[in-house]
């Protein structure tokens, strides 16, 4: 029982990393309907930029912000100058996936060419442990949780209360309609990619902190978990992505307790499949259905 509780704490840490990543992934998807396989590599690139910052004496948390900004800008540029032109040419949904696979190859191996195949590190404090009941966290983990939650809340506030956020939701719901009603769709799409890149970049650095190492395949390895969190909540549903992150994060740790480490990812993914069988459009299916996209 104790183990289950303490693992809950670890699950929350994992969830906090998945949180911005899954929100970022789902924002891109809802804005442009692109299933971006390159998202993981973008995360990795930002994590390495974070490393460059820390190795130049910039504090870790400032580096995280800088890496996020870098991630946001590259994400915006990639969408503007690579993906959008393909979309305009009428590249199919699957064709776009192949483009993003190619993109992920280019990014991943550019990283390898620059920084080599071995891991690099962030300077981490070796501070003490904070105990919360049966759960225990390091200082860094607590900050990670804080950042994850803060990013989620900020996203929520933006979508809910700002004009831009509302416009973003409108574009996600129905781009042609939103455009017809005067929403500047291109600007909103740009913004969505900027934001999602920022989220991904921040998540990349957070992942690097949690893994205690940054390597060129890091983000790619995380991709399926991110996709799972996004799908579980309902793709394109920001709140769904939040819920999905928590579920997947906690499941990954708890199933290691109940079953074994070897089966942990399996059970998390099996749960995902089962949930989708019961709710075919994810946990937050309501709005998707109203949009008439679900059967």
């Amino acid at each position: 029982m104790n183990q289950v509780l303490s693992s809950l704490g670890f699950g929350i840490v994992t969830a906090s990393i998945l949180l911005p990543a899954a929100i970022g992934f789902t924002l891109q998807f809802s804005a442009t309907n692109v299933l971006n396989i390159g998202f993981g590599s973008q995360m990795t690139l930002a994590a390495f930029i974070g490393y460059v910052c820390t190795s130049h004496g910039i504090g870790l948390w400032y580096a995280l912000v800088l890496a996020g900004v870098f991630g946001g800008v590259t994400s915006l540029l990639l969408n503007r100058f690579l993906l959008t032109p393909f979309m305009r040419r009428g590249t199919t949904f699957f064709g776009m996936i192949v483009i993003t696979i190619a993109l992920s190859l280019v990014l991943e191996y550019t990283i390898e060419a620059i920084w080599g195949p071995v891991s690099v590190f962030y300077p981490l404090s070796t501070g003490g442990i904070v105990h919360v009941g049966a759960m225990s966290f390091t200082a860094e983990q607590l900050v990670i949780i804080g950042i994850g939650v803060a990013l989620a809340l900020a996203t929520h506030a933006m979508l809910r209360y700002t004009r831009t956020g509302k416009a973003m939701r409108a574009v996600a719901g129905n781009a042609p309609l939103a455009r017809a009603s005067g929403v500047p769709a291109q600007r909103i799409v740009d913004l969505a990619w900027l934001l999602s890149g920022f989220m991904g970049g921040a998540a990349g650095v957070m992942l690097g902190i949690s893994l205690a190492s940054v390597s060129f395949t890091m983000g790619d390895t995380m991709l399926i978990e991110i996709i799972a969190a996004a799908v579980l909540g309902g793709v394109g549903q920001v709140y769904g992505a939040m819920l999905g992150s928590v579920v997947i994060g906690v499941l990954l740790e708890e199933s290691a307790v109940v079953l074994s480490g070897a089966y942990a990812p399996i059970s998390a993914f099996v749960v995902l499949v089962i949930v989708l069988l019961i709710r075919p459009t994810g946990l937050f299916a309501g709005t998707a259905k109203a949009k008439g996209v679900a059967a």
């Binding site: 195949p117 590190f121 893994l211 205690a212 290691a256 070897a262 942990a264």
Partner: protein, 445 residues
Amino acid sequence: MSDRCDGRGVRRGKLWRLAAVPAAVAGLGAMVSVATLPGASASTAHASGSTLNIVSFVPFSGPDASFGDLALSGCYPAVYAVNSAGGAMGHKLACTTSDTRGDPVDAVPAANALVAHSSNVVAVFGPSSDEALSTESLLEKAKLPTFLMAGLSQYDYQTNPYYWRLTPADAAEGVAMAAWAKGHGYTRAAAVFATGTTSQGDGPASINGFKALGGKIVANVSLTPGQPSYNTEVSQVVNAHPQVIFFTAPADTSATFFAELHQLDNGVIPPTLVTEVAEEPGWITAVSGAIGLPTLEKQFAAMEAATPPTTIPGWSAFHKSLYASPTKVPNVSQYVDDPFTLSYYDAGILVALAIDQTRSTSPAVFDSAILGLATPGAGKVVVHTYAAGAAALAKGKKIAFIGASGNLYINKHHNVAGAFAAVSEGTNPHRIALVSATLMAKAAA
């Protein structure tokens, strides 16, 4: 040996097929050109002065890419030593590579290509466990001296005259862990192994061995590589309060695991026994980055085939060649005491000496001379360098080569039954002590 794990993020696999398309026209052209190559077979005698190749047939990409450098780290100094003494029977040697990418589907065509282009090949360094079984039948046909990197138990009693394994089996590493732990009076051990090929070999061996020696496995944890955290697994280990940890996992997974163990256990890491894989530079960089070099150096010990003291003349000659060779692997100093490097250096020299002794570059002829050359005996002059060996052979003497690894004690199954040693981890690895052979024998029983 191998630590191939789940293969996620194994982008270098065949995804490449996807990427390869655009140069297709070039590929077609190349296929035609390959097809028209003269079909030379491996057994033809080579024109004097032509270069003979030693092919490193191991993964150069993918998760086990480090195997490539490992094989080359022994090949380069051997080739340098031979060439600077005038070459084997006047032929220069060269190290070439063939990338297996670490999975059977990719290794089979690579093996075929190797066989197809084998006219100048005199030895193969590899394959590793990733591809050994799938390429066995192909390499057998090539009839080339093949120096395995695979620790699979399938090769413990192998009978192929062309196959050689000059390093111990995976399972022996696990047995050594158990014996070392018992020898230090530990009774409670945690077994932590990543899902992977090596873990399938040394995991059960260490667990069963430790139990056979009366120890208790208090936690048996398997890690799936590529997870964002191993906190739960770590706390299972911490809560079991082991005195010692048996551990094998790839670099990134290990870094995460030990960073989290370090944090959760308040900076304390129990004595941890690792394997050869953990002596690779990438592993050391990753884990020392996660927990700090001092902790790594203090608490970790790697179970390795015992290398001889660095005072023996064979090792000194190797050491000189290693640095003198114009072609080097990166971080060459990491390899000075690596049993694989040493054994591959010895293998290279043995092959060259076998060519000299039999006056033939045909593997079918010289392969059978290797065992005699590696085994000292009555009437044999013991040599420690290629130059000395070649000179003695030229004078018509019988010789035995004792190289960097010391006496290899190759048995009739072309395996070595060497001793094990615990080697410290860190930037400057050194031997801590030999593992008790008696305990190992008990543990393996």
